[in-house]
Amino acid sequence: MAKTIVIVDDFKTNTVVIRHALHQKGFEILEANEPEDALKFFDGRQIDLMVTDFKMPGMTGAELTKAVKAKPQYANMPVLILSSEKSEQCKVDARAAGAYGWLNKPFDINRFLKIVNSIFK
């Protein structure tokens, strides 16, 4: 069965590009431009990875991760943060929330795809 990936970024182009790239690789994509909307995806369905921006309106990527991982079903789901945030504190927050992956923006889309693929190997 196709793996399902949730993408969250308030910059629409980013979600569009990432969705497109992942879609071509056969992943099922759920896409949100607001963290609040992303939360709605985690309603019990199978989700295999969340890829999220860090700095977003209303909620940071860390806060979002925390909220998602509070649901036992998603506690072990890997979370990859894509951000140009350079403060170390953000990374610490992200890890504390259970988002262990951090990829700096800008990134190469192929590099990103490689990482995503390796998660599901």
Binding site: T13, P78, S84, G101, P106, K114
Partner: protein, 686 residues
């Protein structure tokens, strides 16, 4: 990737417009940290995205100006006019550059350098102790093609398991990066398995990081040497010995093996950047001191469209309840309440206008996309096209704008690809070499009209006719008006182009265009003159959920007719019908075809002796609807049909009346348009 680039540019331009607004506001309220935060966020988004789509210089510009706002956020800098000026010049410059569709190029490089210098000199002026704000544009990683040896170590403990990391796949990944020697050893104190890995690779530190992306905080990655240490015999002996003893390697010892080498001793964090802990500590303290934004200063709110939808639903219910109240008051005659109802009426009306307004977005957002589209496609096709836009400030519901993107794109592509001739051809037929495609939007009553016009070759009617006959859609003898003929183009799979081109397949998708417009309760129509050009006319309602209607009744059934489509209402005497010829009725000296709602909807029973005629006008045609009685104006809360009712021919939806009865909303466009219906009413229509 160009599609994405276009999208990026459109999105970025939108962000820049917002930034500009925020900056102007900041100038007025320099202490408002919320505005600072918003500007920072905007710059940050732009920075990240610019880099991703290859706009590196713009990304750099965003980065240095972002730093300025970072300083302001942290209270190290105060907002001054100079900062706003600098920021605005960055916004303007970026705007200009992005509109050209490329990153900073030779022509704009000098301006870029000037702005960059202005910002850096401003920063160095105000903060002497903070030099490292500006970074060079091109951080070239040296030694890109040199083999390097990395030392990686991590504990294979519970944390590892918890994150769901599989050791096998880590090794597998790593082997794709370079030559790997991995050694499991036991930790001295605990019994935890510790892995030591040596990797020799030409790959960048990032590539190694990527393998460990989910364990960055629990893994240590160090660059041992800028050379292949596996070629060093001494090194090999040491690690083999240690490996045999299951003993941890002494990194300092290993480092010292390589004499005379300029080694990097710092521990890399996940960016390959060196983090100065003292500095980080300072930043943290400053953050705590930063002033808390005050609530009263909010000027802008980002509200999710869902919330607005919900408000709309609630308002709809309010409107229904209000109507119900009015009904009771009128029936029971509570005089005193009448005034109150009046005022509730007014307030709900204003409320409704208000909510609709909030949801309105200027069509300009689409224009920016189309501008690029026209430029790119005409260039690609080798056509010389000017794109003219009019009425960009016209506002439409956000949902409608979003749904318009793809049908309008399709129409513009069609115009460029099939409508517009090549320059040589245009000159030959005596046209201006430069063709025009215009995108015109205006409001007409509660409708928005969009016209896409080109001065190209127009549609070949004979060709369409022949095709329709070939396909058995019409007979040789069928007489069709131009409109009926052009409407054939909207039939699924009806294609007139001989060769489907790369840019657009003519016909393919026109049915989809029509369907998407219809779904918005809109209409689409083609007008064309061969040799002169084609115009596609789209009519859309401004908003989707509440419409002003005239409530009429036939038999026991209520019908709501959208108010803007109504031309006039008049009494109809039996005698009028008898006198009329060919089911046309004379209203104010004009002959208008008419249809009985009773017969269209097969309502049983006897019509009253005095009936009314409501003349509706849509798509430039008039039809009189004969109804039993006219009840009055009514705000219908539209509930679209779904399920098996979705293809209901002459209705757009239903609405609940105040007393709980159902009324259906007539689709005037379809009623006017349907020749069958009019013929059934005994009419020659066209």
């Amino acid at each position: 990737m160009t599609d994405f680039k276009d999208r990026f540019i459109a999105d970025a331009l939108e962000l820049l417009a917002k930034l500009e607004k925020s900056l102007l506001m900041l100038e007025v309220k320099p202490d408002n940290m919320l505005i600072v935060e918003e500007i920072f966020r905007g710059l940050h988004s732009l920075k990240g995205a610019s880099g991703m789509y290859g706009f590196n210089k713009i990304g750099h510009l965003m980065h240095i100006i972002e730093n300025v706002y970072d300083e302001i956020r942290d209270g190290r800098l105060k907002v001054e006019t100079e900062i706003v000026n600098l920021s605005l010049s960055v916004v303007d410059f970026t705007n200009n550059v992005l509109k050209l569709g490329e990153d900073v190029s030779d022509s704009s490089l000098s301006e870029f350098t000037i702005i960059e210098k202005q910002i850096s000199s401003y920063l160095s002026e105000v903060s002497n102790n903070n030099e490292s704000v500006s970074e060079p544009v091109n951080e070239e990683v040296a030694n890109d093609n040199v083999e390097k040896t990395y030392y990686i170590t991590f504990n294979h403990d519970e944390e590892f398991e918890k994150r769901g990391i599989k050791l096998d796949s880590v090794f597998k990944e790593l082997k794709e990066v370079g030559t790997v020697v991995s050694i499991p050893v036991k930790d001295d104190d605990s019994n935890i398995e510790v892995w030591e890995i040596f990797v020799v690779t030409k790959a960048s530190p990032e590539d190694i990081d990527d393998v460990f992306i989910f364990m960055m905080d629990i893994v240590t990655i160090e660059l041992l040497a800028n050379e292949n240490l596996f070629k060093n015999n001494e090194f090999n002996t040491v690690i083999q010995n240690n490996s045999a003893l299951k003993q941890k390697n002494d990194i300092h010892y290993l480092r010292n093996l390589i004499k005379g080498e300029d080694l990097q001793e710092e521990k890399m964090d996940d960016d390959g950047e060196v983090l100065n802990e003292v500095e980080a500590e300072e930043v943290k303290e400053k953050e705590l001191e930063a002033p808390k934004p005050q609530k009263s200063m909010i000027n802008y709110l980002r509200v999710s469209a869902d919330k607005l939808d919900e408000q709309m639903d609630l308002l709809s219910e309010l409107v229904t309840a209000k109507a119900e109240l009015r009904l009771i008051v009128e029936k029971e005659g509570y005089e005193k309440l009448a005034k109150l109802i009046e005022s509730i009426d007014k307030t709900t009306n204003r409320f409704r206008k208000n909510i609709l307004n909030v949801r309105l977005v200027q069509i300009k957002t689409l224009y920016i996309m189309f501008l690029r589209l026209v430029r790119d496609i005409s260039k690609h096709l080798g056509k010389n096209v000017e794109f003219i836009a009019e009425g960009l400030e016209t506002e439409l519901d956000k949902n409608i704008i979003d749904s318009l993107e793809s049908p309008l794109t399709h129409l513009i592509r069609n115009s460029l690809d099939h409508g517009i001739e090549y320059p040589e051809e245009r000159i030959k037929v005596g046209k201006k070499e430069r063709a025009t495609v215009s995108f015109k939007t205006y409001r007409s009553g509660s409708e928005i009209i969009i016209e896409i016009t080109d001065d190209g070759r127009g549609i070949n009617k004979d060709k369409i006719r022949r095709k329709a006959i070939d396909r058995g859609l019409i007979n040789e003898e069928t007489e069709l008006t131009d409109k009926q003929l052009y409407d054939l183009i909207f039939l699924p799979g009806f294609s007139t182009a001989q060769n489907l081109s790369e840019v657009s397949g003519r016909g393919v998708g026109m049915d989809v265009v029509k369907r998407s417009i219809n779904q918005l309760r809109g209409e689409v129509e083609i007008q064309s003159e061969q040799g002169k050009g084609t115009k596609v006319l789209i009519k859309l309602p401004m908003s989707l959920s509440i419409i002003d209607t005239l409530l009429v009744q036939s038999g026991n059934q209520y019908f709501a007719i959208p108010l803007p489509d109504i031309q006039k209402c008049t009494m109809l005497q039996e005698i009028d019908l008898q006198l009329t010829d060919n089911n046309q009725i004379k209203i104010e000296e004009e002959l208008v075809p008419y249809i009985h709602l009773r017969s269209v909807f097969k309502i049983k029973g006897q019509a009253p002796s005095s009936q009314k005629v409501v003349v509706i006008r849509s798509m430039e045609k008039e039809v009189g609807l004969v109804v039993d009685s006219v009840i009055g104006e009514y705000q219908a809360v539209l509930k679209p049909f779904d399920g098996y009712l979705i293809n209901q021919q002459y209705l757009t939806g239903a609405s609940l009346l105040a007393d709980g009865q159902l009324c259906v909303i007539l689709d005037t466009g379809k009623l006017v348009d349907n020749s069958q219906l009019l013929e059934a009413a005994g009419k020659v229509v066209y």
